[in-house]
Structure formats: structure tokens, C-alpha cells
């Protein structure tokens, strides 16, 4: 069945691309978990928050317009300007840095030394809080997100004609690959390279790795934990911004974005919580796995298996290897 095989190959490629998107969200989790031991459930909502802020700033929306209108009876909604995408990205990054500072200053500073599970639940609270704030600031309606460098060079959308034509020439069947997925892959590769260079070759990056390795030793050689944690949350905020822009451009900025980001959790479990390569490999495995499963088995059992396949795969995998593919071995002492 060469035709089925070709379909399968197309599904496989699309799965790889979807996996990159999952890996983008998972990266932020790994960064924070390595440096502070906090399992940041709010990473998905941070991506949503970042994407909404990006759209809001770009379109010149008035923050909290809804609330202000309700209290004062005014009818404001837009400042009436449109910002360049790069400027909006820059401003959103500043917002994410402020958020990182606030999170550290008002929440986790008071929770140092608490059990990991308490920290985890605090991040669930943070997720609710951020989601509410994002909705209050920018309104909950679905928004479209466009990133444009100039007026007519935007982030490409839709089917890639070149791949379609080439594969049609080779196999007699054109592959459907979304342009956006290709750019997401490129952006993800760039992001990972930047992160690796940052953590390997800069002073702050070295300090970050030192903190990740051993808090107390890092503290004793004069690294400020507080500063590093704010830095890590900022970097995670920036990763969330990139993920948010990519997901937002793909499927619109809306609440379900934070649910898609839940998919990053099984990715992490598969790859291990402490490993950046693990996040990427895990993302690819989950992406390919769920697309292929839906393609091969889905029609037999009613479809929409993508909702749960990732979780069940991770669950089964964990039973055999509790620390994930690349995670550090879990050693327990009494």
C-alpha cells in the first residue's frame, strides 16, 4: 500500500512539527524546574498571557478597558495606534520580566524550603490568577495574531507550495506541510541555540547552571539566588512569549491555548524534568506518536484520541522508567 505509506509519512512529518510546538512550551518548564525545583504548572498560562499581551500591545488596546468601562461608565477600548511587531515583542518581554520579578517577590520568596508539592499547587493558583488577569486586561474573546516585519512580510501561513510541488513530482502525492510549522521549527532551533549559548558562555548562564546544580554551594560562592530565580523566570517568560506567539499564530489566541500547553506535561514526563534535549525529544515522540495513533488506530475507536493519547503514553512509559528518558536517576534517602 504505497499510498497508505505516503499518508503515513505525511502524518509522521506533521507529527514532528507538532512535537516542536510542544517542545517549545516544555522548554520553559525545564528551565524553571532545573534552577529552582519548582514544577511550573502556569507555563501554559504564561504563554497565553504573553500572547494576549503581545496582541494587545500591537493593536494598541487599552489594558483593563473592560473594567474601567464598568466602573466609570466610559467607552474606551483602543488607543488608536498600531505598533510594529518587534516593538511589541520587546515591550511584552519587559512585561514578562516584571511578572517574573513579581512572582519571585510576592510568592516564591515566601515559599523557599517548602515541599515541592506545595510549590506545585502554588503554581496552579498562579495559573488561575494570571489567566484572570490576562482576561481582565485584554478581554477574553478569540484574537488573531500576526507577526509582520514590514507591511507585507508576515509570518507565512497555510500550505507550503514548494514542498507540495516537489513531493508531487517525486511520489505523485503532494505533502501538506504548514508554513507556520516550518517557521516554528526554525524559531525553536534558534531559541534552543540561543539558550545553550547563553547558559554555556555567559556569566549569568554559568551562575544559573551553578544554582541548578547545587543551591547551597552556589550561595556560598556568592551567587544571589534571588537574582538567579528572577532571571530564570524571565527567561521562561520569554520562552513562553515565543511559544505563545507560535501557538497563537497557529490557532488564534484563546483560552484553549493554556489547555494545549497541558500537553507539555506528558512531554516532560517522557523526556525527564531536568533535561533540555529531553524536552525536545519528548516533544517529538509525543507529537509523532499521537498523530500516528490517530491515523492508524483512531478511526477504529471513534477518533479524537489526541485528547488523551499523550497522557496515557507518558503514564505507561513512566511505569517502566520513572525518571523519563534523560532525567537524572531518582535517589531516595530516609
Amino acid at each position: 500500500m504505497p499510498e497508505q505509506l505516503l499518508f503515513g509519512a505525511e502524518v509522521f512529518l506533521n507529527g514532528l512539527m507538532a512535537g516542536v510546538m510542544y517542545a517549545l512550551v516544555a522548554l520553559g518548564f525545564v528551565l524553571i524546574f532545573k534552577a529552582s525545583g519548582i514544577f511550573n504548572f502556569a507555563q501554559g498560562v504564561m504563554a497565553l498571557f504573553a500572547a494576549m499581551t503581545f496582541v494587545g500591545i500591537q493593536d494598541g488596546q487599552v489594558p483593563f478597558a473592560h473594567l474601567i468601562n464598568a466602573i466609570f461608565g466610559t467607552k474606551i477600548h483602543h488607543f488608536g495606534w498600531e505598533l510594529h511587531s518587534l516593538a511589541a515583542i520587546f515591550l511584552t518581554s519587559l512585561v514578562m520580566i516584571c511578572m517574573a520579578w513579581a512572582v519571585q517577590r510576592f510568592i516564591f520568596q515566601y515559599l523557599v524550603g517548602q515541599e515541592p508539592i506545595i510549590l506545585f499547587m502554588a503554581t496552579i493558583g498562579l495559573a488561575y490568577f494570571l489567566e484572570g488577569v490576562a482576561d481582565l486586561m485584554w478581554g477574553a474573546e478569540i484574537k488573531t495574531l500576526d507577526v509582520c516585519l514590514t507591511d507585507n512580510t508576515c509570518l507565512p501561513q497555510g500550505i507550503n507550495q514548494l514542498i507540495d510541488a516537489k513531493t508531487y513530482d517525486w511520489f505523485g502525492y503532494g505533502f501538506f506541510i504548514d508554513n507556520l510549522d516550518i517557521s516554528a521549527t526554525l524559531v525553536a532551533m534558534l531559541l534552543v541555540t540561543v539558550l545553550i549559548v547563553f547558559s554555556q558562555y555567559t556569566k549569568q548562564g554559568r551562575a544559573m547552571r551553578a544554582v541548578a546544580d547545587d543551591h547551597q554551594a552556589a550561595l556560598s560562592v556568592g551567587i544571589s539566588l534571588n537574582y538567579i530565580w528572577i532571571l530564570v523566570w524571565s527567561v521562561a517568560g520569554f520562552v513562553a512569549l515565543v511559544a505563545g506567539i507560535m501557538w497563537g499564530a497557529k490557532s488564534g489566541v484563546q483560552f484553549s491555548l493554556s489547555l494545549i500547553a497541558l500537553k507539555a506535561l506528558p512531554v516532560l514526563m517522557l523526556g525527564g524534568f531536568t533535561s533540555i534535549p529531553g524536552a525536545i525529544v519528548g516533544g517529538l515522540v509525543i507529537g509523532v506518536g499521537e498523530k500516528l495513533f490517530e491515523f492508524l488506530v483512531g478511526p477504529m475507536i471513534g477518533g479524537a484520541t489526541e485528547n488523551w493519547f499523550a497522557y496515557v503514553l507518558a503514564l505507561l512509559f513512566l511505569v517502566f522508567r520513572p525518571q523519563g528518558l534523560f532525567g537524572e536517576k531518582i535517589i531516595e534517602r530516609v
Partner: protein
């Protein structure tokens, strides 16, 4: 002055180990029960029952269930919504399959079926711990909801994919279906919540509860002193799921009347119940009630204040509610990790010493 043990002599082990050792607490408890059983059924109206009392009791049962698993046994679960769906759908299948059997039995049987499902999904907890397990329970949540949406046997092949409760009676008074009187709905929820609380309280202070707490405090140490982790964890999952299943069955059959797995038992349910026990207090039966009360009353209160009084749009108030709930969670974890129950305990301790604290 009267909140003392002084003068209240215990002459047997039974009276020494009772739940409320202080006489004043005991009287309060009986007065509350009296009001709940004799007074409230005559004064409640439809709005109070359907907006506050019925969801409060049903969520309390779910919170007690999750508290047994998370608060007493230390296993965080995000699958509560899925297990509530199991309770609801098995109750529906039993109600339609065996119409001659009492609905009370159906609800209990639904709990038992959920207990079995919960124990199966609890199996991985023997290998994985902490937030790995929390994420693994998401598998239960998403898989179960998907199953109830896709397999039409579960909703008796109805065209809408919904399940709706037929009319069933207790002592020839309808308790499910469209003709339920508010007081009947109130009483059945109250009865189940009361029995659940008594059961849970006695389970958690017995030997089973002590093995759960040993596992929670340090599982390896517990294993060394002879606690069987397989038994402890699986019983925790089963008992917890039993209560959650009962609450899911009541939520569907008595409260909602008609339900659809994705809408009524989605991931949001899991979070709400988890928040109830965080705010109320992990490892406390009273805390389950307190947290459920707070999170049931808060939206009603905000809606009254925001929509009816200030005239704000509904979605704005919903967003403010998200912010407040998130803020409360963080506030409680920072200031009082043991929740409302600990505040209550501290208050009682103060009261015991008052007015001579030294």
C-alpha cells in the same frame, strides 16, 4: 468561659477518644445537626438549595474524597473530574438498567464502581510519585471523559450524547427528575454528605487512616516499619474514588438532572475540588466542608455583588472571580498552608485559654 474540658470527666475509652472531646463542641454539633435536619428543610427555597446548599454538600463529598487521597495519603490527583464522571455514568446506567432498585443503592453502587476504576488508575502510584503522579492522573481525566463521549453504550445511544436522570423516588417522594421539591433535594444531599463525613472521619483515625498518613509523611520509612505500600495506596485510591463517585452520581442525578461528560466533568472540576481542599485544609474533614463552602459561596456572592448590585457584565465578574480564586490559593499556601481548618483549630485553642492566656 464555658469552652473547657474542665468538669467534663471521661470515664471510658470510648468517651475519651470521641471526635468532639469538649462539651461545648458537642452541643454545637448537635445543634447544627438539628438545624440541618429539622429546621432547614422547612425554610429553604429553590434558589438557596440549587445555588448554594446542594452544590455545597455534593462538592463537600468530593472534597472529602480527594482529601483522603491528597491530604491523608499524600498522592496528588488531578483526575477528580474524570472519577466524578465515572460515578455519574455508572449511576445513569444502573438507574436505567434496574429501575426497580432504590436510587440510594444506585448511588452507593456508583461509588463502588468508581472505587474499582480509581484503584486501577492508582496502580501507577506504586512506581511514580509527586507531580509525576499528578500528571499521570491527568491521563485518567482525559481518557475517561473521552471514553464517555465516544462509546455510545454509556449514554444509551441517545442522539444528543447527553445523559438525563429519569424520575426516581425515595419513600415515594421524587428525588431525581424534573419534579424534585427543593427540600427533598436538600435532604438527600445532606444525608449523603453527613454519612460520608462520619465514615471518612472514622476511617482516617483508624488503623487504615494511620497507614495512609505514614505513607504521606515518608513512604520509605513507612515501608520499613511494616506498612504495606501497595495496600495503603490502593485503598486510599479506592476509598477516595468511592466518595468522589458518590458525589459525581449525586451531582448528575440529583443536582444537574442532565449532564455531558466534557462539559460537566472537565478538567476544571478537578481543579475546583483541589482548590477546595487546599483552601479548606489538607488532611482535615472539617476543612473539606470549609473549602467547599467558600468556593461555592464565592461565585454566588460575587455575582450578587458585581452583576446584580453594580450592574457589571457577567464575563467581567467571571474574570474577577478567577483572579480572586488564584489569589486566595497563593495567599493560603503562603500564610497558612494548612488552610481554613488550621485557622479554626488556632481559634479554638485561643478560645480554650480565654480570658487568661497565660
Amino acid at each position: 468561659m464555658f469552652y473547657r474540658e474542665a468538669g467534663d470527666f471521661k470515664t471510658s475509652y470510648v468517651s475519651d477518644s470521641q471526635t468532639f472531646p469538649i462539651a461545648f463542641d458537642r452541643y454545637c454539633y448537635f445543634v447544627t445537626l438539628f438545624i440541618g435536619v429539622v429546621v432547614l428543610p422547612f425554610v429553604v427555597n429553590d434558589y438557596i438549595v440549587s445555588a448554594i446548599l446542594a452544590p455545597f454538600f455534593i462538592y463537600s463529598i468530593a472534597a472529602i474524597g480527594l482529601n483522603i487521597l491528597t491530604g491523608y495519603c499524600g498522592q496528588v490527583s488531578l483526575g477528580t473530574g474524570g472519577f466524578m464522571a465515572v460515578g455519574a455514568y455508572s449511576c445513569y446506567k444502573l438507574m436505567t438498567g434496574f429501575p426497580e432498585v432504590s436510587i440510594l443503592l444506585h448511588v452507593v453502587m456508583a461509588g463502588a464502581i468508581t472505587a474499582i476504576v480509581g484503584a486501577i488508575f492508582g496502580l501507577p502510584s506504586l512506581r511514580i510519585k509527586g507531580f509525576y503522579l499528578a500528571v499521570a492522573t491527568l491521563a485518567a481525566q482525559f481518557f475517561l471523559v473521552w471514553l464517555f463521549n465516544k462509546v455510545s453504550w454509556f449514554y444509551n445511544y441517545s442522539a444528543s450524547g447527553q445523559i438525563s436522570a429519569p424520575e426516581r423516588t425515595v419513600l415515594s417522594i421524587p428525588v431525581t427528575g424534573p419534579n424534585v421539591e427543593p427540600w427533598a433535594m436538600y435532604l438527600i444531599c445532606f444525608a449523603f454528605a453527613f454519612i460520608s463525613a462520619v465514615l471518612a472521619r472514622n476511617l482516617t483515625r483508624g488503623s487504615l487512616g494511620r497507614t495512609w498518613m505514614a505513607i504521606r509523611d515518608m513512604d520509605i520509612a513507612a515501608e520499613i516499619i511494616g506498612v504495606n505500600p501497595l495496600r495503603a495506596k490502593l485503598t486510599a485510591f479506592a476509598v477516595s474514588s468511592f466518595f468522589i463517585g458518590v458525589s459525581g452520581a449525586l451531582f448528575f442525578a440529583v443536582y444537574l438532572g442532565a449532564a455531558e461528560a466534557g462539559d460537566s466533568f472537565g478538567i476544571q472540576k478537578s481543579f475546583i475540588v483541589l482548590f477546595m481542599i487546599i483552601i479548606g485544609g489538607l488532611g482535615s474533614i472539617f476543612g473539606s466542608f470549609a473549602g467547599a463552602a467558600l468556593l461555592v459561596v464565592l461565585p454566588v456572592f460575587l455575582k450578587l455583588l458585581g452583576v446584580d448590585l453594580m450592574g457589571w457584565p457577567t464575563d467581567l465578574v467571571a474574570h474577577i472571580q478567577l483572579v480572586i480564586v488564584g489569589f486566595l490559593i497563593i495567599l493560603f499556601l503562603v500564610l497558612e498552608p494548612h488552610g481554613l481548618a488550621q485557622l479554626w483549630r488556632l481559634g479554638k485553642e485561643k478560645l480554650r485559654l480565654w480570658p487568661f492566656p497565660h
